[in-house]
Symmetry: C2
Subunit: 438 residues, 2 copies
Amino acid sequence: MASTNLTFSSRDVHRAWLATQAILPAGFRVGTTSLSFIPAEKPKPAKMNLTLVALDRPTPDFAAAFTRNAFPGAPVIIGRRRLDEATVGALVVNNKVSIACAPNGVAIAEHWCEAVAGALGLQGRQVLPNSTGVIGWRMPVEAMLAALPDAVASLGQRSLLDAASAIMTTDLYPKVRRAKVGRGSIVGFAKGAGMIEPNLATMLVFLLTDLAIPRADLRRMLLPAVDGSFNCMSIDSDTSTSDTVLLLSSGALPCPDPASFEQALAQVCQDLAEDMPRNGEGVHHVLRIRVSGAPTQALARGVGKSAVNSPLFKCAVCGNDPNVGRLACAIGKYLGPAAPDLDLRNLRIRMGGLPIFEAGSFHLDAKLEAALAAHLTQAELYASSAPIDGVFRPPIDYPPHERCVEIEIDLGVGNATATVIGADLSHEYVSENADYRS
Amino acid sequence: MASTNLTFSSRDVHRAWLATQAILPAGFRVGTTSLSFIPAEKPKPAKMNLTLVALDRPTPDFAAAFTRNAFPGAPVIIGRRRLDEATVGALVVNNKVSIACAPNGVAIAEHWCEAVAGALGLQGRQVLPNSTGVIGWRMPVEAMLAALPDAVASLGQRSLLDAASAIMTTDLYPKVRRAKVGRGSIVGFAKGAGMIEPNLATMLVFLLTDLAIPRADLRRMLLPAVDGSFNCMSIDSDTSTSDTVLLLSSGALPCPDPASFEQALAQVCQDLAEDMPRNGEGVHHVLRIRVSGAPTQALARGVGKSAVNSPLFKCAVCGNDPNVGRLACAIGKYLGPAAPDLDLRNLRIRMGGLPIFEAGSFHLDAKLEAALAAHLTQAELYASSAPIDGVFRPPIDYPPHERCVEIEIDLGVGNATATVIGADLSHEYVSENADYRS
């Protein structure tokens, strides 16, 4: 990946680098505002950000991918409908309330889209709604309507950095990635990671390009890009009710080379997919599992997902403890039921480049254990330290580097491969999701 | 379940109750000993317990169920072979090292069985080996051979309580359950829960009965009993390489009523399955999810498993936070891909007996939120409190009560049901699996 293995000496260096990524493509306007409201469910003031991205001219060229959760949020239900519309002219994002499983959610969200459209000279069906936050709470639509004029007035920023910050819930830092294609670019920004009170970590990804690519091609290109990036990533195995990836082309510039565009799209998606666990709730280590030698790609991905979703292995990694037996357990718990007849005699595992498993068993000694522990320590973002009040908080707000715990699993039976990105499991994760209660 | 909803005023009361459960059935002898050794992989003294259960006469009547993990431990590989033997005469258990994925594990474990058999006047193939502990480490067979005479000399105890303690790794308390059938009984003891250094939580369950039931009937009865109990339970979703359930009949007493025996077997398995998460790593709350109205039993179980394995929902429960949106998310993330065409309009959810979800949405207000929080608090075993050194430890060693967080999910589309038992996710879990590193 082009932009991995960066090292950031400070938050300022990271922000400066993000600014180079966050350049708004031609044909879009962006703006943000914030508002306060009192939820009906927990009568205590809450804060919400609104983010608007408007096209200079409505575009027929857009694509989307949505969560497969059986309880999709109202914005997802509406977004699916929008795929049949002739054009879209804007997207709007709110954090704090996900508008999922809430009474009359779809009708209320459509009403909101109508209001946004009215303020922008569009029709309601030309607005793509997006929400992230508590599931089951009602949308504070009156407070949102009151703040809408401010959001519209703020349109016109040249950078997406404020927007990338405004869509966050408890993400530690904004996530923006850019790839140039000829004179144009693809810029993606994303949220997904943390929570500080009853919120669900939702993934929202917005991909904007000024390059003209017809709708059918955008939709054909988006699926494999998403499949090879966000669908190969897990922070905690909880598929949100709101996960959404939107891709909008303003068509402001001709696209001389669609193949390069497709490659750049995959790159931006992969980079954002790796940013997400690095900013995941309480994450100390990002895991990169490269699976090879599999009979099918689905099986390769399943092996990687089982490894990055194993709570025991995740905890061990968090503690810089090379408890590789838990890795074998995680691989085996998936392969046992999924491929009971697979011949595993040629399976090999490497960690940090070091061979640890072959011919059906580990070959461990004190020296190898020390080398594996050093690899884990070198990939650590920070270490937990005992808090005075028992509530663990990450001591960093920007990641110091982009290193991963590197694991290679060669099943030795086929040619299919997959790379899966994941995260460890720490006290800070538990604190974010259990201790910050009201 | 007969023996749930007990309340223990103190550890002594619980131990006294356990003693009433741990009465050894006729026709068995039991003994334990311990030993020290230096692992090759981490050269630092370690302690291991050996536990022997010997039959007065070898029996043809035994049954077993084993892990489906693709990397089974040597004892599981050997145990599967033993199913074809004419009789078995003893089982032997060690903790500390699981003898899974270790070089020459099977050959070394068979050598160990030969030695145990020799000391008991049996043949190696009449011994059922069992191990739990670190995956990938070598079996300290010389130290185990040196301790074997002590283990044999200790045979003759009347209670299984010492054995139930000796097979533990970092389980907080021994788990023993008994059901009487006529003049005879079924007594089960189990381990599974915790770890204190690189160990894998392994489930080992031993069911002993003095009632004569032919081998074929035992094997027919064991599968549904395991399926409705241990296979409906999850602490952290990590299927061990060593999970084993053994059922041995000494045949000392005639069985007048096989149907009552089968019912009692299911009861003992269900009780032990609920004991296990109650003693799970750092568990504050046991979850009981009753799923009904499902089109198939597999789907009912899948819904329950998805709920108890959701890290976000588990953390919320740990914090006594009724973040029920995460429960819907967990149900939906399973049903979306598993049953995309299921009609969910009639799905209803209750928690602590209170309706919270129907007609596609939650119906929450501040009063209901408070009642749900009270239900969670009432089911809590203990609360985390800030440790001086940052390493969380459970303040209890025996559970004060047997209450559960009660959740009912009625899918409203069929007649299939399942009850799934699970646990929350706490700082103590992370500490046990990340902080206790060498």
